[in-house]
């Protein structure tokens, strides 16, 4: 009986050692394929290794997987702004970072995550147009998620958030301007993006000015879209709504003015808002300031 127990124990140990050796040899094979630029084979072996319980928490295996997928991204998917391999690579480096805290491993993972996260940010920028803006949003959101793993400086993230939201607001505004009646939701998206900027940086002149103009144009547009045979009662309602919008525009434009009293666009904007509110003295005051500045140039 004791003899039998010994045999079972030896058999068990043999299986463990063999399995362990098998997983390690898969990692080694993946490494060899990577060195020979046989990326598809490297991918098969490293996937098999990291999803096996024996090596699923092996930081080096995950790091190698990240490197394999990063190589696939660089060699085959660089022009694909929605590259799946890039995300696989990032997730692998992230996993490696979480299971292997040796300083050399941490540094290597950080460098790779930074490289790939930067490509996400740059691809977000390159996708900022009326067609691909959803890709831009997705890439920027992923950039934030991975970049937060390696850079804890709030100022770096804040500035990138400001830059991106200013840019995406411009895209939304352009889409709205192309079809003011049919694409009204883009006006709200633009306002929401400028609001995000102003939450991060209340003194941002561009966001204040553009927000003011968005409300101002909305008010003007409300009137200009009206038909001439609009009844006086309905005209009264439209005037009420437009006055409300002009008044909403005013604090943003006043803020932009307080930040730079010599900015011509802001003076023109304030003159326009007060004119539309039928406050002609104030409108003329800003018009005169603008004329003075133009004379000085």
């Amino acid at each position: 009986m004791l003899q039998l127990k010994r045999i079972v124990l030896w058999m068990f140990l043999l299986v463990i050692v063999t399995t362990s050796y098998a997983q390690q040899s898969k990692v080694n094979a993946a490494y060899t394929f990577l060195q020979n630029s046989q990326l598809d084979s490297a991918k098969v072996y490293i996937d098999a290794a990291v999803f096996h319980p024996e090596t699923s928490n092996d930081g080096q295996a995950w790091y190698l997987r990240g490197f394999v997928y990063k190589s696939i991204y660089n060699q085959k998917e660089k022009s694909d702004r929605q590259s799946i391999s890039r995300i696989e690579a990032l997730n692998s480096f992230k996993k490696s970072l979480s299971v292997d805290t040796s300083s050399e491993n941490v540094q290597e993972n950080i460098k790779n995550i930074k490289y790939l996260a930067t490509t996400l940010y740059n691809d977000a920028g390159a996708s900022l147009d009326a067609v691909d803006y959803k890709i831009a949003i997705d890439n920027f959101s992923k950039f934030l998620q991975y970049y937060a793993l390696i850079d804890n400086s709030p100022d770096n993230i804040k500035q990138k958030n400001i830059d991106f939201n200013l840019a995406i607001a411009s895209v939304y505004t352009k889409i709205f301007e192309g079809d003011r009646k049919g694409k009204l939701e883009y006006l709200n998206l633009a306002k929401s993006s400028y609001n995000k900027v102003l939450e991060l940086d209340p003194n941002n002149i561009g966001a204040n000015y553009n927000m003011g103009i968005l409300y101002y144009n909305q008010a003007v547009n409300l009137i200009n879209q009206s038909d001439y045979d609009l009844d006086i009662v309905a005209l009264s309602d439209i005037q009420d709504n437009s006055i409300k919008l002009f008044k909403e525009s005013l604090p943003f434009m006043e803020k932009a003015y307080s930040l730079d009293p010599r900015r011509k666009e802001t003076l023109l904007g304030l003159s326009g808002i007060y004119f539309s509110l039928n406050e002609f003295d104030k409108s003329n005051m800003f018009k005169l300031k603008l004329e003075e500045i133009e004379k000085q140039k």
Partner: protein, 177 residues
């Protein structure tokens, strides 16, 4: 395996201009409101039968290019019954005699008395744009009440010119000060 490509953050402005939003024209919106009012006057006020042929003439005394632009747009889009609108930028009270509506702008408001004299016995609706003129001969005067464009209406200054005004318009006007 440690080779890492160097990459820099590219400025977002490289890809998209942080464009400033261009302002629409507030002057045009103000002019549009007045044009809508003027078109409404033709619906709520009735001219005598002998004024219902030929063009419906709106004479504008004074300078305001936005307003003239809006009135001309209105003229090309609307009619008064079968009458076509004709918008005339008149230079003096003497040119007001054959107008259905004489609109005296703020910068020419001192000419109200001259216009009243010239259109005596005719059927002209005198519209002005300065506080107090509804009690000095104007039939309708544009006023600003709490940032809003409204009208004062002097009923007797309308009826004096053999024009009939609907009570609905009277009720929508603010009392003459």
């Amino acid at each position: 395996m440690k080779k890492i490509l160097l990459i820099l953050f590219l400025p977002i402005t490289l890809f998209v201009m942080r464009a400033m939003v261009a302002p629409d024209q507030g002057e045009e919106a103000n002019a549009k409101i007045k044009a809508i009012y003027i078109y409404n006057f033709t619906k709520y006020i009735e001219w005598p039968q002998d004024y219902k042929t030929g063009n419906f003439i709106v004479g504008v005394l004074g300078s305001n290019s936005s307003l003239l632009g809006e009135l001309n747009k209105m003229a090309s889009a609307k009619t008064v019954g079968t009458q076509k609108f004709e918008i005339k930028n008149i230079a003096s009270a003497a040119e007001a005699t054959n107008c259905h509506i004489v609109y005296i702008l703020n910068d020419k408001s001192t000419q109200l008395a001259d216009v009243v004299g010239k259109v005596k016995g005719k059927s002209a609706l005198i519209v002005t744009d300065k506080e107090g003129l509804a009690s000095k001969g104007a039939a309708i005067n544009f006023v600003i009440v709490e940032n809003k464009q409204k009208i004062e209406l002097n009923k007797s200054n309308i009826e004096r010119y053999k024009l009939k005004v609907a009570e609905q318009l009277v009720s929508m006007a603010v009392p003459v000060k």
